[in-house]
């Protein structure tokens, strides 16, 4: 049974991207929006729209009751949560089910287990996935922290159990810094996630962030769609992603893919998900699993020719995946650059403003996912992501040349508007990045 109407519980480029696939599938779409987004592109892209709250995300996009009400009154059968906001909230998934709505994502109990990063680490250890030396569960006292730290060794990283998305973590390099960092991370975790539990792991300075895309249906099929390299990060925030990972040994690559499939199977995962691994010293370790569509999913779509959102929707409606692992053969290289409304001169502070000029690039093998348009005022309440530029080519160098051309074409201007485009062009031209030798500290240590 297919869905007649899908409510997209998100905003910005991802809401539009999901609606596009819905339209191709003949599904009616409903947008929800805050008062700050009355004029936003995702509202225009939908067949119907409901204003669900004021600008503050907590009272609109994060309000489960408001989203559910909007879904019920518009006759939606299913809710696509996009990424961020309610996308990995097990309570929201549960409330959807209670109201007869299909949550397009994994089951609530799976979300609850994987949302707790300490539990996820333990589960994946049990499933046979390699993890870095660390605490078996959460670290609930300073004494426990000291004891564990001496066994794990330095540097180590303290992470919020309820964290994710690069927030709520602290790297500790010396024993003297341990307890202040422990207390600070707990306080931050409490403030940001409402949960002060933390866990600890060995920290790798010289590592690559490689993640594996999986796709699972409710009929026992679990597939992988290769990896993405997301090592270009600024303070744990991804900026450039690509598939496949450059220069990865084929054996390492297939070992990671097998581990991801094994992990997804072990927890009964359904839908699209991502296993994040750290690749270091010729080995790899499980970090966390993301139970949603990722920002960087288009690079995988480009090399595999698979619409991941379409598969998410089909799986959620109970269909079996129509492809086999043998059908999934990657072709060429795809790179994504995140164009954020940020000011490099002010330490990448969000720089929202009115987009007086907004002309995205085009041409062969260039995909731009954006909610920007000329004359639109970027609201200050939300994520600074303005556009994703994705370029494909048979070879990596050609893809990067194409990316530079596309970024040069992209015209964004307005009073107070600054973007990451100049930085992205520097990265694309950087010899270390061009050689595929970049690690996660690449941007933060580069002059």
């Amino acid at each position: 049974m297919g869905f007649g109407t899908v409510l997209v519980a998100n905003r910005g480029e991802i809401a539009i991207r999901v609606m596009r696939t819905c339209r191709e599938l003949g599904i009616r779409t409903v947008a929800v929006h805050s008062t700050a987004d009355q004029d936003s592109s995702h509202v225009r892209a939908a067949d119907a729209a409901v204003q669900i709250g004021p600008g503050a995300p907590r009272k609109s996009y994060l309000s489960a009751p408001a989203v559910i009400e909007a879904a019920l009154r518009t006759g939606a059968d299913a809710v696509h949560p996009g990424y961020g906001f309610l996308s990995e909230d097990p309570d929201f998934a549960e409330i959807c089910a209670e109201n007869g709505l299909t949550f397009i994502g994994p089951r609530p109990e799976v979300l609850a287990k994987l949302g707790d990063k300490a539990v996820a680490r333990a589960l994946m250890t049990d499933a046979g996935l390699p993890v870095l030396p660390g605490s078996p569960g959460t670290v609930d006292s300073a004494a426990e922290a000291s004891d564990l730290a001496s066994r794990i060794g330095y540097p180590l990283i303290i992470k919020a159990a309820a964290g994710g998305g690069g927030r709520g973590m602290t790297v500790v390099r010396h024993a003297a810094d341990l307890l202040p960092a422990y207390r600070q991370t707990r306080a931050t975790a409490q403030a940001v996630f409402g949960d002060n539990r933390v866990y600890m792991e060995r920290y790798c300075d010289s590592a690559r962030h490689i993640e594996v895309q999986v796709l699972a249906d409710g009929h026992g099929t679990v597939l992988h769609l290769g990896e993405r390299d997301c090592s270009v990060q600024r303070r744990h925030q991804k900026l450039v992603e690509e598939s496949p990972g450059p220069g990865l040994h084929p054996q390492l690559r297939s070992a990671m893919a097998r581990a991801a499939v094994r992990g997804a199977r072990a927890i009964g995962y359904t839908g699209a998900g991502t296993f994040e691994f750290l690749v270091h010293d010729e080995g790899f370790s499980f970090m966390e699993m993301n139970c949603r569509i990722q920002v960087e999913h288009p690079v995988t779509e480009a090399v595999y020719g698979v619409d991941l959102v379409r598969e998410q929707i089909r799986v959620a409606s109970g269909e079996a995946l129509r492809m086999t692992q043998e059908d999934l053969v990657p072709r060429g290289v795809a790179v994504e650059c995140r164009v954020n409304a940020e000011d490099p001169a002010r330490d990448f502070a969000p720089a929202p403003g009115t987009l007086e000029e907004f002309v995205p690039p085009g041409g062969p093998f260039v995909r731009v996912d954006t909610h920007g348009r000329a004359g639109w005022k970027v609201p200050p309440q939300y994520d600074s992501l303005l556009a994703k530029v994705v370029c494909w080519a048979p070879e990596r160098d050609e893809a990067l040349d194409r990316m530079d051309r596309a970024l040069a074409e992209f015209r964004i201007a307005g009073p107070g508007v600054h973007t990451t485009i100049p930085l992205l062009r520097e990265i694309v031209a950087d010899p270390v990045f061009r050689a595929g030798r970049h690690i996660t500290s690449f941007l933060d240590t580069r002059d």
Partner: protein, 179 residues
Amino acid sequence: MSELTRTQGSDDTFAGLDYDNSGLALADICRSIAEVVRVGPDKPRRVRVALGAASVEVEWEGDRGPAALVGPAPQEGTGAAGGAGEQILEGHRECAPLVGTFYAAPAPGAPPFVQPGDHVEKGQQLGIIEAMKLMNPLEATRPGRVVEVLVGDGEPVEYGEPLVLLDPDPAADGTDEGA
């Protein structure tokens, strides 16, 4: 009508009202004008809206003189307010605090909480908004006379949607004009 002019001044004279922005206020005014046009004796010849000075002018054929309506017409308007044939409606809109279904009465078949002409106190219940099977009372945020209940019983409402139009009492503490 032969002409419709929209002007938006720089001073936000609607800042004191519960509007999210002046654009919403302008939309409300336009809706009120449409209502006047609908119920008026014949089509107006000219409509002028100025948000900055908060004035609304409507001219009908046969030149019955300009009629001002809706919105707090500050200073300049009050002088002419005593003139014959003019109607001034001070409007305060009680808006939906959440998305849900509006109910005008406590139970099906029961008399509504309020009707046009009723006087309500601050905090008095005007209706119910049902969201997620929870009944949330809609209460008056200021005392006044009910001019109109703007949505029907059982209708879905969005966040911020105007539900009840009140003609507010002059403020006792003197913060409002009047008294």
